[in-house]
Symmetry: C2
Subunit: 647 residues, 2 copies
């Protein structure tokens, strides 16, 4: 059975109170959301205007003008509204809600009588709509609109935005499909698939699920719609090189026949998320098996140790199995976020902790590396090895930046970080009638009703710096339910106690299931060993051979020039590195740093010589190494950085 | 004093009789030259036509048509004529000479009354000539025409082609310069500088040297001519990105202020060769010092161990100091050839063997790797590390081919190989009135006049496979002269005897100078130790750290999949590799192979696991390694290859 066995806890029932995550959430609330609002309204000095709100005003007939910005500019306001919605759920804010309502009002005014809503075509001529689904993002905008509308409805109960999304979805349903008279197209950039499933959960309107399923089923079928569309548009196809073709769009073959993650990485994981959603709602075993194959391909062949995906800048794409260059990687923040989306759906269907392992890996590394510690600068690309001089002078690394950038022309990553972090509790805690799953450890207060009885869980932890988690149950009536605690894949040993008594159990698919009648004041303590770990990559990964990565708990570490000098390639970790872990509260907003015994290739004799000489044997000098969490790199003086270190 | 102290021996006085080099020279004579003639005449099936001869016919009014091919298509026939000229010198061939004469006749018919001769502008409209010197290669064609004309004059004594070149050079002299009414331009692609110097040596017409010097002096001066030209042409500048700008053309600043090799690598070394030529003829110390700085920058910071130069595909260019990626390298065959041009001029000015060392390194590795052993296929790009799957699937390696290609749309490399190898004796043997310098060791017969007396040197060697060289003097009268024998930089020990008696002397700048009165029958034997050598790179070279290269004599070796299996990154050389050298006459036209004790990273446990796991320590399995000469790679089954091996 493929139905989802778990649902994210509603954000209004969780108060995250956690030094680590609450800090990020407040950054999003206090910096990212207000900043983006200014950006959407073209009020940021020295930044390229967004034109996003202006396009809606023009489309609504409120002002004169042309469409400006990216063809998918509409989606920026939708992502902002989604972040706002999630944020309002755990932090009500009347003024922000009023701004959101007014924005939704404006969006509604731009909507056409038949429900259509994409300002690019409303402004440039509706007769052209649905003629370039491959590249013009109309259905991408539908997807983000719908995701935002669902979130806003869940938060506020207001139907206005939801109705707008329903109107556009129904309009698309009328025009797209394999039936006579319809256009047999599907999204060039996926996201509508998962969004329509979420919409269906609220509307229970079969059309919404059917449309999602149709998008999945039709994709990659012969004769290929994108080929036909291309022909009609004069064969102007941006990605028609031998490296990409329609695989860029995951449309090289029907999705059920796909077993390798291909093409644009964000699109890919958005598609797979949608596939999992449709499979679970339609009990489509074949579709789910494709999800499993694609998942396995990503995590066993194409995922960086930081959870980053997308090895190449060319098409912001997956490349090929075991091809994981650390310095020319793309590793888009949005792609790591999309991987988390996919992971959560697979987890909800299977209750298997290995999906949560990847979710955690991506979250603590490849996702939050995308935002500076002050919440004001962002990475699109998240490299695992950087030499600033190379970023500047090597054309192949032109996409790799040694410092985070203020905002982007294509502003997809910052609002994506915002909507993920604002809704983090839903990833950390999931439940069903009988069970409460703790997928990620973060301090906070959870209110849940089990067997009709109110229960509160108070979680205290200093995760990810310490492996100890304390959970106190508060209830007025004893309540029987299962508390599922994830034992992370990185965890090699732990002590689990309930009210001070050993409660160890063999984990089932990565979770210890504590099934009992909980009384008020019951205390669970989970104490996970969190030593420094040394990781190695499969020897087929050319870029990592002879190297190791240092990790501790879910956090992957790196060497930065600020602590270790430059020419990081000269550094080796010793076989017996004698790690010393220190919590440094003043450093990088408080991190555990790792010091280690290392060595550096001796430069002796090279002063006089030049590029090549007779090999003199392995000569090293001792070096004290200091590792910091990868996500926090380049928050000090910019310089070299590397995750993988020679050994 | 900067005048040249050495001059290449005239090719008609040298008969190379050497298994290694004569084979290459005959390949050029029997395959490359005839094949290219067919190509120039569009008679190769399944190949893009060259249009080169056709363009001349159209320009001459002999047939109707438009200009077709590259804007520098004319240069192809000039390079062919130069190769023919050198080849005719050591292998007279009446029919080939007749074809060459007819071709020169045709070229002459296309020449304009004022001497102008570039078919692109003759066909497309002369009013446009000299309006896009930056990108349209008019002066590049002048350069190659002049080089060919000089060679043909030296070989045949016929003035026709020389007069054509003089005509065009004088026409350019009339139109270009800083004088009132002239265009203050210079070549976008250098080569005319060195060519005009060679022309001046024959014509003694001051205009030719002045024009070369003007090209050198004016380049990069402010206000920048190329900027002005760009403006006039509507600012369409192909290389105006931040990585390149005018540095692509070595025009970022005046050449005397340049101290780093920059931009398009072929253009760069052609320019530096021209600078050395001008400096030596004008006693321009500042200009020569710039040559020295640029030389040092190349060989100490930007040269591959194979003598390849040009680290990046973007602009086929130098990148930055110590940036020497082995897999995305450009390493154009023509650039290694250009480095040899530059080296020979520096050697002629300084008599310093370190220039010959680089000449030898490039010749035996990065140049001849560009041609297949059957002389029928060519590399433009000469990588030091190849994974065929990556060539196919990694966009950043799209320029790297796992097998040599039949011919090129832009056919610059094959004829460049042809003209170099046809004139190889001039690089190997140079002389002046008193001295004969043996720069490179190759078997053959040299006829030279010293002190007015005829002397013949008969050289026997199995170089590069054996370090023994025997030279026998044949003369009718005793002759006093100096025989300078190069002791290569790679040579750590040697025995030198004259008539069986020890004749060891401290080498001066890399040469042992045997200054004596030579008698008929005198025998010199030089026996250089030629053990396998392990080389390491400066630790600043990120790509080579922890790795070594294996070499023997001047030959750099590599591992190929055909001998060692795939996943070459897993292979380590042992610290005590116990090399075994074997001459294999049947393999790759006869090569010394090197077997060594190595090890391979164990794949144990990886069957069950995926991408990352806890480090299990260094685990290897023994592996027998077999190295072949780098230049001969991918002449068998295509597969992986690497020069640098972990240790």
């Amino acid at each position: 059975m493929l139905e989802k066995k778990l649902t994210p806890m509603s954000l209004e029932h969780v108060q995250i109170q956690d030094k680590f995550w609450k800090g990020y959430m407040e950054l999003v609330r206090n910096h990212v959301i207000p900043y983006q609002w200014e950006a959407l309204n073209d009020r940021i000095e020295n930044a390229e205007p967004s034109y996003c709100i202006q396009n809606f005003r023009v489309a609504a007939g409120l002002q004169k003008g042309t469409f400006q910005g990216m063809v998918f500019q509409d989606s920026d306001v939708y992502k902002w509204l989604e972040a706002v919605a999630w944020s309002l759920m755990w932090h009500p804010d009347g003024e922000l809600e009023k701004t959101a309502d007014e924005t939704i009002e404006l969006i509604g005014k731009a909507q056409q009588p038949d429900g259509y809503l994409d300002t690019y075509y409303i402004i440039n001529g509706l007769e052209k709509r649905f003629t370039n689904l491959m590249d013009n993002h109309e259905l991408y905008c539908l997807g983000h609109m719908t995701e935002a509308a669902v979130a806003y409805y869940k938060t506020t109960g207001k139907r206005k935005f939801l109705d707008i999304a329903v109107g556009y979805a129904n309009c698309v349903y009328e025009h797209l499909g394999t039936e006579e008279g319809k256009i047999p197209g599907y999204p060039g950039h996926e996201v509508a698939e998962m969004a329509l499933c979420a919409l269906y959960d609220i509307t229970k309107d079969e059309r919404h699920l059917k449309l999602a399923k149709y998008f999945i089923d039709q994709r990659g079928r012969q004769p290929l719609f994108f080929d036909e569309e291309c022909r009609k548009n004069g064969n102007k196809c941006y990605w028609d090189d031998t490296y990409m073709k329609k695989q860029y769009y995951q449309a090289g073959k029907p999705v059920r026949d796909q077993d390798k993650a291909e093409g644009h990485a964000v699109r890919a994981v958005y598609l797979y998320t949608g596939m999992a959603e449709v499979a679970s709602r339609t009990e489509d075993r074949g579709l789910f098996e494709a999800c499993e194959k694609l998942w396995d391909n990503i995590v066993n062949r194409q995922m960086y140790v930081t959870g980053a995906i997308g090895a190449t800048e060319h098409g912001e794409a997956f490349s090929f199995d075991y091809d994981l260059p650390n310095d020319t990687v793309y590793g888009e923040t949005c792609a790591a976020i999309g991987l988390i989306f996919f992971a959560r759906r697979m987890l909800e269907i299977t209750k298997d902790g290995r999906y949560a392992d990847v979710m955690e890996r991506a979250l603590y590394n490849g996702v939050i590396s995308g935002m500076s510690l002050d919440g004001q600068k962002f990475f699109y690309v998240n490299p695992l090895e950087v030499v600033p001089e190379a970023c500047e002078k090597d054309y192949n690394k032109r996409h790799v930046k040694p410092v985070r950038q203020k905002w982007f022309g294509c502003a997809c990553c910052p609002p994506n970080v915002a909507r993920l972090l604002s809704s983090l509790a839903g990833y950390a805690f999931e439940e069903n009638e009988q069970e409460l799953y703790v997928n990620l450890y973060t301090g906070g207060i959870l209110d849940t009703v089990k067997n009709g009885k109110k229960n509160r869980l108070v979680i205290e932890t200093e995760y990810p710096w310490k492996g100890r988690v304390k959970i106190r149950i508060e209830n007025q009536e004893d309540t029987a339910f299962t508390l599922a605690l994830r034992i992370p894949g990185w965890c090699q040993g732990y002590v689990l106690k309930v009210n001070g008594e050993n409660a160890e159990k063999r984990p089932e698919k990565g979770y210890v299931l504590l099934e009992r009648t909980w009384k008020n004041g019951d205390e669970i303590s989970l104490d996970m060993d969190m030593p420094v770990q040394i990781l190695e990559a499969n020897p087929r990964v050319r870029e990592d051979i002879g190297k190791v990565a240092v990790a501790r708990g879910p956090v992957v570490y790196c060497l930065e020039e600020a602590d270790n000098g430059d020419q990081l390639q000269e550094i080796y970790l010793k076989e017996e590195p004698e790690f010393k872990e220190t919590y440094e509260p003043e450093l990088l907003k408080g991190v555990v740093t790792i010091q280690a015994k290392g060595k550096r290739v001796s430069r002796e004799g090279w002063e006089k010589e030049s590029l090549y000489r007779t090999y003199t044997g392995k000569k090293f000098e001792d070096a004290d190494l200091k590792f910091i969490p990868y996500y926090a790199w380049t928050n000090r003086t910019p310089g070299e950085m590397t995750v993988w270190v020679r050994v």
